[in-house]
């Protein structure tokens, strides 16, 4: 029997120095497979957040007046600022992919740094200006005290539970994004074979990043811009 790894057309095999993995015929197939895999993963993410959005919409529908009163505790300014930060980061991410496609490594890295800066800024604003004051005002699930004259305490607590649950999960996704982008930056910087000359890793991480952005696009009006 011939050497299996070398029988298919002389291209690379897993741990070679080309980005093509042994299970694929050519780079085109590999790229498409990766994109499909990534989108499939994003579908699971949609369902993952979807369940939370379902719970949120249900209680919002049931307890709209209390949710309205509770939502006044959130800051539209910082929420809006964070929206801007994420939108811009998405733009930088798109640019990073653009430069990766054109094999402009320096520019790609710069763009990724900008994305990282936005991500860190987002988390910073989120934690320092939003979550921490909520803790001080006893609005987090474990130390919840509702001393406002109006609104139902339990439903307000439900609102903040959902708020922390959903923005928390979103924050974890941002954090994961920072780590993944960091890893990508390292690999690109090191000219690692898996990313060298191949824009697909950047594109996939970009897809993930845009998805995180989309989640926030929905979270923002749902939590910060409640009508009466």
């Amino acid at each position: 029997m011939a050497m299996v790894q070398d029988t298919h057309g002389g291209h690379g095999h897993g741990h070679g120095d080309e980005p093509l993995h042994h299970q694929f015929e050519d780079i085109h197939q590999q790229n498409e497979t990766y994109v499909i895999g990534m989108w499939t993963f994003l579908v699971t993410e949609v369902m993952f957040f979807g369940a939370l959005f379902l719970a949120y919409s249900l209680y919002r529908w049931k307890y709209q007046p209390d949710f309205y009163i509770a939502h006044k505790e959130l800051s539209v300014f910082f929420g809006g600022l964070n929206t801007v930060v994420l939108l811009i980061s998405s733009f930088f991410m798109a640019k990073a992919v653009y430069h990766a496609q054109r094999k402009e490594k320096r520019k790609q890295l710069n763009m990724l740094w900008l994305v990282q800066a936005c991500a860190v800024a987002f988390l910073f604003i989120k934690v320092v200006f939003e979550w921490m004051p909520k803790w001080q005002h006893h609005l987090t699930p474990l130390n919840f005290i509702w001393d406002k004259p109006e609104g139902n305490a339990e439903h307000a607590q439900l609102f903040f539970s959902l708020y922390f649950g959903m923005t928390g999960l979103h924050g974890i996704h941002i954090l994961a994004g920072i780590i993944v982008i960091g890893a990508l930056q390292y690999l690109v910087w090191k000219d690692a074979p898996s990313v060298k000359g191949d824009y697909i890793p950047t594109e996939m991480i970009g897809l993930y990043w845009h998805f995180v952005d989309i989640v926030w696009i929905f979270l923002f009006p749902l939590y910060y811009l409640l009508p009466r």
Partner: protein, 331 residues
């Protein structure tokens, strides 16, 4: 020793129609299982490798055949669906003149209240031939109130009243179960339903239940006392006041809420209005109801208070004459 029953006793008006449907589906199941399995075995033997059976004209795709064997089952399925849905709607339909029984599920017992004040635990006495409306609520986890002889079961959910209806037919003693796993002693959360004839049941009620001393207060009377104790009347007096609407004759009326909805003031509404008054506000009132009545009333007391608001002239009469003789059986 052992019995070998194949069907539970039929003791409600729902049991017989249910069983017809049950046996119809059983017939269908047995028919299809036997026929298809027999055909499969027959083929497997007839066309075993090396047998001399003819293999001429074997085919592997035939649209007509596919349609032929998928459409009839589809119709059968629709038939069963129609039949079952008709039955189900009848089962859920509140009967006229239903007698009310209140059930509170808690870990791990069934607590039953009759309107005249009789209470029982893990036992339920009912009259034969009278439609029953069971109002159920749980104090902790989800339970399910299940009487196999009535073919009737419904979940008992915390925080919300659920109802089921049945009409017992045959006097007797039937098991009562909890079918929703509810914690450690789930297996022991059961008891018996005793169906009595109407007369016996009336006597039983009068006696104040099987083992209890005759009751002194009806549920509504207990509710009236609570109404007084908790000072509800100061706002919800005989007529609407600035602070709150009167509860006089409120039961069953349509309310007008500030959010535009117009719910009927039923048990569920009243419960919510007491323990969660700000979820919806009556038009013309502000959210001024004090205190957290979830902490104030137990589920049993809530039922009592609601029962009180149902009775005619309720809340006009803060002073309640407590019956001291045997039970409050005025009739």
């Amino acid at each position: 020793m052992w019995n070998f029953p194949v069907a539970p006793p039929k003791a409600s008006t729902y049991a017989a129609p249910h069983d017809y449907l049950f046996y119809a589906i059983t017939a269908l199941t047995v028919f299809f299982t036997v026929v298809v399995f027999a055909v499969v075995i027959f083929f497997a033997i007839k066309y075993r490798e090396g047998s001399k059976a003819s293999r001429e004209g074997a085919s592997d795709e035939n649209l007509r055949v596919e349609i032929m064997w998928s459409v009839p089952p589809l119709f059968l399925a629709f038939l069963i669906f129609a039949w079952s849905t008709k039955l189900y709607v009848d089962w859920r339909k509140p009967p006229d003149n239903a007698m009310e029984v209140f059930v509170i599920g808690k870990q791990w017992m069934w607590h039953v209240q009759h309107a005249n004040g009789v209470r029982e635990n893990n036992e339920l006495h009912l009259p034969a031939g009278v439609p029953i409306r069971v109002t159920m609520i749980s104090q902790d986890v989800i339970h399910a109130f299940y009487i196999p002889a009535f073919r009737s079961q419904y979940h008992v959910v915390p925080g919300r009243y659920t109802v089921q209806y049945f009409t017992p037919t045959t006097p007797g003693r039937y098991p009562l179960y909890c079918t929703m796993h509810c914690g450690t002693q789930h297996s022991e959360m059961g008891g018996y339903v005793t169906v009595l004839s109407k007369d016996e049941f009336a006597k039983w009620l009068e006696r104040g239940g099987e083992e209890q001393a005759p009751v002194t207060k009806t549920m509504a009377q207990r509710g009236a006392e609570l109404f007084k104790d908790k000072n509800c009347g100061s706002c919800h007096g005989p007529a609407d006041t600035v602070q709150g609407p009167s509860l006089n004759g409120i039961y069953g009326t349509a309310r007008k809420m500030t959010d535009g909805s117009a719910p009927i003031a039923d048990q569920e509404y009243l419960r919510e209005a007491i323990i969660d008054p700000y979820r919806r506000l009556n038009q013309g009132y502000r959210d001024t109801m004090p205190g957290d009545y979830r902490q104030v009333f137990t589920e049993e007391e809530l039922l009592d208070v609601i029962e009180y608001t149902k009775s005619p002239g309720a809340t006009k009469t803060p002073e309640v004459q407590v019956a001291t003789n045997s039970g409050a059986s005025s009739r």
